[in-house]
Symmetry: C2
Subunit: 509 residues, 2 copies
């Protein structure tokens, strides 16, 4: 950290609101340029590293994070208020994610090699030799998220996938967890040094206020942005990115209410058990998941009322939970107050006692007609609040679904008797979201090859991508074609004998 | 065509400026909504068609275009002024492109299937069954280009790749060739009917003025845009797309000067022959190619001057050629007048006599220092005009390249002695363009698997994609993941026994 910084800021203990030890430099927009310049200077050297070297770097980051040991978890717990068990799991997820991307890098599949050999005798014109590979976009700016201080922050999925693609990364740490952020940034820097990565491959800035992030997105060295956070934040960064002399993509994962549809057969078999399980997903981590089930949709019936009663009972018995920051808690309180004050909305349950810095769960209900009239009732309330929409019939349920904005997930609870209705809803849900679950709950996003953590606007800015899973690497790559390039000038993966997965004349070789 | 339209417009014979027979409806913004609504209504049915049915539709379009016979070529020749041989070749390219996409659809590779089977015994938590496929974005608006009345217009690459992806298409025909456009639109409509495609799978609007296209991009049914044309046009559509309630991607291929770098060894071996061949590429089709070589860069030397002399001789002997429209000709004349008036620019040659509606080629030269001082000298002049940049040394050549905007192509002319210098330039060129050619000319874009016709901004808006070749299909797809979906509700390609190419646990199965 630069000794010139006179401005500092501190982390805050989420559970008490008290400032924590260690003052961190509050960097300003002027501090961004040298970090980004170093990232730009590192780009060509870093993208030329072998798959093995890059994979070793990713694995070393995981090792260095593990080597931070309990102090990392303890600091994350203080700064986020999230429970220790959750953070232990999140660390495992973070390290596992880095290792998965290391495996992916070694597979060379992401290089997207295609070869169309020359056809010198073709009539009327010969075909040239054409060879295509994917290359990285350039340095990527990553914005740490408040709600996953490890897995969606400094060494999270955006960083892992960008580094895997061959892009240097500049992280803007989230000001809600500067200590966690600094420790992980140090781990990445040590891993880069130990594995001989070029200087500048990883940069890190931290501070408060929006100008720091804006300067990062404006910097001409930055070629893409990864962001997980609020809709307002994501749209602001996207607007800045569009105003640049050279516009760049912003991959912003923003807001989602993650509709859960309860079909009649499932309700008739399991109403009470479903109600209790639903609240388990709703209140996990104080509801501070992007995939939190903030909306339940069903045709009204005695079974639905039984579901509601069971869910309300669990909500009413749920103790308050610490929220990540005072700002998030205030936004949650404002969101539930808005619903409590809305005439057509019925409050079904409020959670039990809460201490300062804590918030309690809420469960609301409303009719399908009301949400058709006042669609703002469906706006996301980030935290453990959910709204049950009681529909008159299956047609109304379908039109409520069709009227939804883009979502990260949609969930169907169904039994054998519901399959025909489910089949009629699937085309609607596919157009609305990135992941469709059956008989589960949307919280818990597996880091896998077949995962999509993304979805149509405004769930994300760019519904063509995912921010979790190996497909996330494609966000940071672009194709380049080489025509009649002599073999000694070709990149290694485009040589005839490169041994990487490839399409030759459009067929897997 | 709707009989209510009272406003009409006519095509213009490019070679004479005279209006052609047949008046076409000049549709207005109000005509767009019903066409887009029909496309939206067709989407779910069309995307559910089998690969075989969709491929047959694409092939039928090709057959119907061929069935139009010589009258199509004749009309295109009248409207565009392009020579008959070129249009015959362009028709072959258009039909071949449709057949290539039909083959691609049948391969099912584009479906991007990934399966991560459930791991019920995994600790600490079981893994769910996850299955991913790519689905189409929704109806695509395609803007026909002026310079390829067949291959980049109504049934061109954007239409072929969007239909292949499962997206209905609404084409806005280019007003410079309404007759060609109408004939091809009719061929597509007949193919859709003969192969039983849903009503609305293909829509078509035509007219003059910008409001028609703006209304198309604003229509809420439209999910993506394909465009080939001017930078101003592409940026205007992109701005409209960003202002929508739900922003959509605009794939706009806009402007490029396609730098050609002549390395010393190549010049010393071949200066005169290279000069003549260069002008062949420069003047083909009156220079009206996106990949026209508008910029030549070399270290100044007697060999470069020999190249210039040879090129100038061919330019001076080149007859005038008909340009596509009077507007394009006027823009060309203004562009060359701007260069002729620029103090540091030397006019090396002007083409021979030209008739009305024709334009003649131009060849200019300038120093590397001058373009560093006045980068606007490098702005695209659409037509047969090229600027040779004489550099002082290899360092200046490198810095001219590094200062370029994004390009569709870059070309290196080299001999064995140039490989070391070429290797040092390749990382720069990779960051600037979508295709790098060696010892060839950039005009002539092969429709293939390994082609990239795209490049960093402002060559296109989105350098992550290509508008030519099979990779173009990916522009119109997005991933959806299915978690624990019962087999009878899964889409066909995600069944265990679907027999489509897929990754299972990240490995090719």
């Amino acid at each position: 950290m630069d000794q010139q910084h006179t401005e500092t800021f501190r982390g805050v203990e989420a559970a008490t609101g008290e400032p924590l030890e260690l003052a961190f430099p509050a960097q300003s927009a002027a501090d961004v340029a040298p970090v980004c310049k170093a990232a730009g200077a590192a780009f060509d050297a870093y993208r030329a590293t072998s798959s093995e070297a890059r994979a070793a770097f990713l694995e070393a980051i995981g090792d260095e994070i593990m080597a931070l040991g309990d102090p990392l978890l303890k600091r994350a717990e203080l700064e986020s208020g999230l429970p220790a068990a959750r953070l232990t799991g999140e660390r495992g997820r973070t390290v596992g994610q880095l290792r998965l991307f290391a495996d992916l890098v070694r597979s060379d599949r992401w290089r997207g090699v295609r070869i169309d050999p020359a056809l010198p005798d073709r009539e009327p014109l010969p075909r040239p030799d054409l060879r295509l590979r994917m290359i990285p976009l350039g340095p990527v700016a990553v914005f740490g998220a408040s709600n996953f201080p490890l897995a969606f922050s400094t060494a999270g999925g955006d960083t892992a996938s960008a580094l895997a693609a061959g892009c240097p990364v500049v992280v803007k740490g989230h000001p809600a967890h500067p200590g966690t952020d600094s420790m992980v940034a140090g781990a990445i820097a040590r891993a880069a040094e130990k594995t001989g990565m070029p200087t500048g491959v990883f940069g890190h800035v931290m501070g408060t206020g929006n100008e720091l992030g804006a300067a990062l997105v404006r910097d001409p060295n930055i070629a893409a942005v990864g962001f997980t956070g609020s809709r307002a934040g994501g749209l602001a960064l996207a607007a800045i990115a569009q105003e640049r002399e050279v516009p760049i993509p912003v991959y912003a994962e923003m807001s989602s209410v993650n509709p859960v549809v309860l079909l009649p057969g499932a309700l008739s078999e399991n109403a009470a058990a479903l109600g209790a399980a639903f609240v388990g997903s709703l209140t996990m981590g104080a509801g501070q998941f992007c995939t939190n089930p903030g909306l339940v949709i069903a045709v009204d019936s005695p079974d639905l009322r039984a579901f509601e009663a069971a869910a309300a009972e669990v909500v009413a018995g749920a103790a308050g939970q610490v929220m990540l920051t005072s700002g998030i808690r205030e936004a949650y309180q404002a969101g539930v107050a808005r619903l409590e004050a809305a005439a057509p909305v019925e409050l079904l349950a409020t959670g039990g006692d809460s201490l300062a810095c804590q918030a309690t769960a809420r469960l609301f209900a409303v009719t399908g007609r009301a949400v058709a009239d006042v669609p703002e009732l469906l706006d996301e309330v980030f935290g453990a609040s959910s709204l049950i929409v009681r529909c008159e019939d299956a047609d109304e349920l379908q039109s409520v679904l069709a009227g939804l904005e883009g979502q990260l997930t949609a969930t169907l609870h169904l039994s054998a008797s519901d399959h025909a209705q489910a089949a009629s809803l699937l085309p609607i849900l596919e157009r609305k979201c990135g992941r469709i679950l059956v008989n589960g709950w949307p919280t818990g996003v597996e880091v896998a090859h077949a995962m999509v953590h993304g979805g149509p606007f405004p769930a994300t800015i760019d519904g063509r991508t995912t921010s979790v899973g190996t497909l996330a690497i494609e966000r940071f790559l672009r194709p380049v074609s080489y025509q009649n390039m002599p073999a000694d000038l070709l990149p290694p993966e485009l040589h005839d004998d490169a041994g990487v997965p490839r399409l030759v004349d459009g067929k897997l070789a």
